[in-house]
C-alpha cells in the first residue's frame, strides 16, 4: 500500500522507476576489506540495475547518524547501513520507520530492537573468532604463548574475535603474553611485537585481528630473525583474507587467515526484491558463510576466489 503521499514512488515495479537507496558505509580507506565491500556495493546499486543510489562514508558514528537523518528527509526507499558503532541508532531508526523508509543492515549489527529494521546481513564475528581459535586448538602445541593484537576496541570485529580467544585461553590455560590494541594499524602492531621481542618475551603464536596487523607483526619478527609460518617457531594468524595475505599463506609465511566476507550486495538485492514484491522475509538476520584458511591446505583457486 504505497498510495498517496507527497512524493509518489508507486509503480516502481514496472521497472521504469528507479528504487532509491541511501547507503551509509564506513570509509573505504579503512582496510582492504572495506574497499572490497564498497566496490561490491557500488557495482551492484547502479542505474542499470534499477537503483538510484546515494553513498555516504564515515568512520564516525555521529556523522553516520547525520547522513541517515538526511536520507530519511530525502525519503529514500531503502536505507542500507553499516554502522561504525553498535550503539546509538534507535531514535534514528524510529524516525526512519515514521517516514516509511525501510532499513537494511549489512556487515555490522547494531544494538537496537529487531522491529526497527527489515533485515540484517552480517558476518558472525563470534563465529569467525571461534573458528580461528578452534583451528589454533587443533595445532596441539605443547605450550601456547600468544601475542594478541586487538583491533579498535569496541568494534564488532574486535569483540567477536577477542572474545573467542579470551574464553578459550582462560579455559585451556593458554598464556597470553601480550594483549594490546594496535587499532587495525600495521605499524602499531610492529611496535608492540618489537617491544615484546626487546623485552625477551617468549611467544609462539601471533593472533592478529586483521591482516594489516599480522603484517606489521611479521615485519617485527623478520627483523629479529624469528622464523614464522608453517613448521616454524611462531604461528601467524590473521583475518579478512586480503589477497596478499592469502598469498603469504600460500607461501607458508603465515599459518591461518580467517575469512570475513565483504560481499553482501547480492544478499541485499535479494531482500529488496522480496520486499518490493510484498513477500515476507523468512528470517531477519542472515549470517553469511565464512571459513578459515590453513596454510597447508589453501589452493591457488582459493586465493583467487576468496582473496579480496
Amino acid at each position: 500500500g504505497t498510495e498517496g503521499g507527497s512524493s509518489s514512488n508507486s509503480g516502481k515495479k514496472s521497472g521504469d522507476k528507479l528504487i532509491s537507496v541511501g547507503i551509509i558505509n564506513n570509509d573505504p580507506n579503512e582496510s582492504g576489506y572495506r574497499t572490497a565491500n564498497v566496490n561490491d556495493l557500488k557495482a551492484t546499486f547502479t542505474k542499470e540495475n534499477g537503483y538510484d543510489a546515494q553513498f555516504a562514508y564515515s568512520l564516525k558514528n555521529e556523522e553516520q547518524i547525520n547522513y541517515a537523518q538526511k536520507y530519511i528527509q530525502d525519503e529514500v526507499d531503502y536505507l542500507l547501513l553499516s554502522a561504525a558503532d553498535t550503539a546509538g541508532w534507535d531514535s534514528v531508526l524510529k524516525d526512519a520507520k515514521d517516514a516509511g523508509v525501510k532499513v537494511i543492515l549489512f556487515d555490522r549489527t547494531i544494538d537496537a530492537d529487531e522491529s526497527l529494521y527489515e533485515a540484517s546481513i552480517v558476518s558472525d564475528m563470534n563465529k569467525e573468532g571461534e573458528t580461528a581459535v578452534e583451528w589454533l586448538k587443533n595445532q596441539n602445541l605443547t605450550s601456547y604463548d600468544i601475542i594478541h593484537l586487538q583491533g579498535v576496541m569496541g568494534s564488532a570485529a574486535q569483540k567477536g574475535r577477542s572474545g573467542a580467544l579470551t574464553d578459550t585461553a582462560s579455559k585451556l590455560n593458554w598464556n597470553i603474553v601480550v594483549e594490546q590494541t594496535a587499532e587495525w594499524n600495521a605499524e602499531k602492531a610492529q611496535q608492540i611485537v618489537q617491544s615484546a621481542i626487546d623485552s625477551n618475551q617468549k611467544f609462539n603464536v601471533i593472533y592478529a585481528e586483521n591482516d594489516d596487523m599480522a603484517k606489521g607483526a611479521v615485519a617485527a619478527l623478520d627483523r629479529a630473525n624469528i622464523s614464522h609460518g608453517v613448521g616454524k617457531d611462531v604461528i601467524v594468524m590473521g583475518f579478512d583474507c586480503n589477497k596478499w595475505a592469502l598469498q603469504e599463506l600460500k607461501a607458508g609465511n603465515w599459518n591461518y587467515d580467517g575469512q570475513c566476507n565483504p560481499f553482501q550486495s547480492s544478499y541485499i538485492v535479494d531482500i529488496i526484491k522480496k520486499l518490493e514484491n510484498g513477500e515476507t522475509l523468512p528470517q531477519k538476520t542472515i549470517i553469511m558463510d565464512e571459513k578459515g584458511f590453513d596454510a597447508s591446505t589453501i589452493t591457488d583457486a582459493d586465493v583467487e576466489q576468496y582473496g579480496i
Binding site: 570509509d27 573505504p28 580507506n29 579503512e30 582496510s31 582492504g32 574497499t35 564498497v38 566496490n39 568512520l59 586487538q150 576496541m153 601480550v178 594483549e179 594490546q180 590494541t181 587499532e183 587495525w184 594499524n185 600495521a186 605499524e187 610492529q190 611496535q191 608492540i192 618489537q194 617491544s195 621481542i197 626487546d198 623485552s199 625477551n200 594489516d212 603484517k215 606489521g216 615485519a219 623478520d222 627483523r223 629479529a224 630473525n225 622464523s227 586480503n242 589477497k243 596478499w244
Partner: protein, 364 residues
C-alpha cells in the same frame, strides 16, 4: 669561606641550568630513564643478533626508541620552524604523510597495485613524493601567509582532504611492494646493525643544522615570528619566510612518509601516521618552545620527540592495559611538564639555594 663560594657557583650553575630551554626535555628524558632503570635495568639491554637474511642487527628498547622515534623527530624539526614563524601549527602533517606515502607507492607500483618488480627507481618515487609533499606544504603556506588564515584552520583543509586524496591517488587500492630493497628505509641496510630510520633522521638533523648555520633562516624565522612589522621594515618578506617554513615542513613530511610506507611496504590511508600531528606539536611544546611562535630551539624539539617515543616504548614494555594507554600517557606528560614548568623550576631552584647555605652552615 671557599666552601661557600664553591656552593654558590654550584647553585648558580644549577640555577642557570634550570633556566636553559633544553633542560625541559632533557629532564623529562632523565626522569623516564631513571624510572626504567629502577623498575627494570634490563630495559637498557642491547643485544646483537641476526635477521632472517643473516645480517647483523642490534635490538633492544633503546634501539626501538631511536628507530620508531625517527619520523616524529623529523616532523618536529619542520613543525618547530612552522610554529616559530607563523605562530601556529600545521595539523595536516598526518594527512600529508598519507599523501606522500601514497605517491611513493603509486610511482613504485605503477597501475598494478601488486607488481612483481618495481616500476620506477625508488629515488624517483621519493623525489616525486618530495615535490608532492612540498606542494602540500606550499598550499598550507599560501593560505597562511598570503590569505592570512590562522594556521590551525588553514591546515584543517588538508587535514580533512588529505587521506581522501591519498586514497584517490591509488584509486583506493592498497598497493604492496614486495621488493626487499624498498624495506631498507624502514628497516636495516644489510650489514649495518642500526636501523635505517635513525640514520635518515640523523641526516635530516645534520642538514637542518647546516642550513641554520650557513643561512640566516633561524634569525629570519624568529624575527618574523616575534615581530612581523619590524621584520618587514628591516627588509624581510614575512610572507615568503612563513611560506618557506611550510615548504620545509613539507619536505620533512616526505621523508617521514617514505619511512612510514617502507616499514611495512604498504599503506593504509586512514591509519598511517594517525594522530602524528598531535605528537609532533607535543614534541615542539615538550621541547620548551612557545607554541605562540618566536624563539625556537630545534634540538629541544628533537629531544622532545624522543621523549614521546621513550614514553610510548616504556608503556608498551610495561604492558599497560592497552585501551587505557592514553590515560597513562597523559599522566606522565603532565607530570613531566609540571616538573619542568618555569614556575615550578624556579621554586625548585629556590629550594636548592636554601638548602645549600643550610648545609654549608652545618659543615662549618
Amino acid at each position: 669561606m671557599s666552601q661557600n663560594t664553591k656552593n654558590n657557583t654550584a647553585s648558580s650553575i644549577i640555577t642557570a641550568m634550570f633556566r636553559k630551554q633544553i633542560f625541559i626535555p632533557l629532564a623529562a628524558l632523565l626522569i623516564l630513564a631513571l624510572f626504567n632503570f629502577i623498575m627494570d635495568p634490563s630495559f637498557f639491554k642491547i643485544t646483537l643478533g641476526h635477521n632472517s637474511n643473516g645480517d647483523p642487527l642490534l635490538s633492544g628498547n633503546i634501539i626501538s626508541i631511536i628507530d620508531y622515534g625517527s619520523e616524529l623527530a623529523i616532523l618536529a624539526v619542520g613543525m618547530t620552524l612552522v610554529t616559530a614563524a607563523s605562530r601556529g601549527q600545521d595539523i595536516s602533517v598526518g594527512a600529508a604523510i598519507a599523501i606522500s606515502g601514497s605517491v611513493v607507492l603509486r610511482v613504485l607500483c605503477g597501475t598494478n597495485s601488486r607488481p612483481d618488480e618495481l616500476q620506477a627507481p625508488i629515488i624517483v618515487a621519493f623525489i616525486i613524493s618530495c615535490f608532492v609533499a612540498m606542494a602540500c606544504g606550499a598550499f598550507n603556506g599560501v593560505l597562511v601567509s598570503v590569505f592570512k588564515i590562522q594556521p590551525m584552520v588553514a591546515t584543517l583543509i588538508l587535514f580533512t582532504a588529505g587521506r581522501s586524496i591519498a586514497a584517490w591517488i591509488n584509486n583506493n587500492e592498497l598497493p604492496v611492494v614486495t621488493d626487499s630493497t624498498f624495506s631498507v628505509f624502514g628497516g636495516y641496510i644489510p650489514g649495518i646493525p642500526i636501523p635505517t630510520p635513525f640514520f635518515i633522521a640523523l641526516a635530516c638533523f645534520v642538514v637542518i643544522f647546516l642550513v641554520l648555520k650557513f643561512t640566516t633562516l633561524g634569525l629570519y624565522v624568529q624575527s618574523v615570528g616575534i615581530n612581523e612589522e619590524t621584520s618587514r621594515l628591516n627588509g624581510l618578506n614575512p610572507a615568503l619566510i612563513k611560506f618557506i617554513t611550510y615548504v620545509i615542513l613539507g619536505l620533512c613530511v616526505a621523508v617521514a612518509g617514505l619511512i612510514k610506507v617502507s616499514r611495512i611496504s604498504s599503506i593504509n590511508y586512514s591509519v598511517v601516521a594517525k594522530d602524528i600531528e598531535m605528537d609532533a606539536i607535543l614534541a615542539v611544546a615538550l621541547g620548551g618552545n612557545a607554541l605562540g611562535g618566536g624563539k625556537f630551539n630545534i634540538s629541544a624539539s628533537i629531544l622532545g620527540a624522543y621523549v614521546i617515543q621513550f614514553l610510548t616504548t616504556t608503556l608498551y614494555k610495561f604492558q599497560v592495559q592497552s585501551d587505557a594507554l592514553p590515560a597513562y600517557k597523559a599522566v606522565v606528560v603532565i607530570l613531566l611538564v609540571v616538573l619542568s614548568a618555569p614556575i615550578v623550576r624556579e621554586k625548585i631552584a629556590a629550594l636548592f639555594r636554601k638548602l645549600r647555605p643550610a648545609r654549608a652552615e652545618q659543615n662549618g
